[in-house]
């Protein structure tokens, strides 16, 4: 697992991008999209309480699995309701699209909470 710095998200994303640059453009775009959405979500919305933030990411490119691990309070982001994408512009509100699109891109997603860590596995 590669540690992700909540204080320097840009650098963390650049490091991930470096690892996927050699891949097919569509695949690398999909990986970067999911990585950015999930990591941003953990940093912005994770309730870490008094815990020192521990966020990490792993890319298993052989098996096409992205794994995210964090020590925020137990939260399964898959339970977040999907936005209604059929709404007219007047009714559309920002937010919720990141998780929604991650679900769309993924073949499957598994969530578990183990030993104080949220673990999200995204199969693409």
């Amino acid at each position: 697992m590669i540690p992700i710095s909540a204080e320097n998200l840009q650098e963390s994303l650049i490091n991930i991008e470096r690892d996927v640059k050699h891949l097919d453009q569509k695949l690398s775009h999909k990986i970067m999209f999911i990585a950015e959405e999930i990591i941003t979500n953990i940093i912005r919305h994770g309730d870490f309480g008094t815990n020192e933030k521990q966020i990490s990411f792993n890319l298993d490119i052989k098996n096409n699995i992205l794994t995210f691990r964090d020590n925020a309070k137990e939260f399964n982001m898959l339970t977040h309701p999907d936005p209604d994408i059929t709404l007219d512009i007047k009714e559309r509100v920002p937010g919720g699209l990141g998780i929604y699109l991650t679900k769309k891109y993924a073949k499957s997603i598994k969530y578990s909470y183990e030993n104080g860590f949220n673990i999200l596995k995204v199969y693409i």
Binding site: L13, F33, E36, T40, I85, I89
Partner: protein
């Protein structure tokens, strides 16, 4: 984030460069909001040099489209590559923002 602004008779073009991701989208949203204050009848957002669009970038587009609607400006996106277009369509943004392959195609169609 680098942007270029062209003002023509009856329309404005804002061309963006780089990534519309969580890092760059807040600054881009500010630029977009400023440009839309010019209240042109037609606004073309050229994304042909943008390589990445995340939900933060979509949020910027939504804010831009909503502002345009209030100002009676037609807000149009041009030049998205296949990957950007996928994100755009999967989010249902094609229901309320017109998209064209190029500036030329947009200007000929509108």
């Amino acid at each position: 984030m680098k942007t270029e602004l062209y003002e023509e008779d009856g329309y404005i073009v804002l061309k963006a460069y780089g990534k519309l991701d969580t890092i760059h989208s807040p600054e881009f949203t500010k630029t977009l909001q400023e440009v839309l204050q010019k209240r042109s009848p037609l606004f073309l957002l050229d994304l042909s040099e943008v390589s990445f669009l995340s939900s933060s970038g979509l949020q910027a587009l939504l804010i831009g489209a909503k502002t345009s609607k209030q100002n009676n400006t037609e807000f149009v996106v041009v030049g998205m590559n296949e990957m950007l277009n996928d994100v755009f369509e999967m989010s249902g943004f094609n229901n309320f923002i017109k998209s064209f392959n190029s500036q030329k195609e947009a200007l000929e169609s509108l």
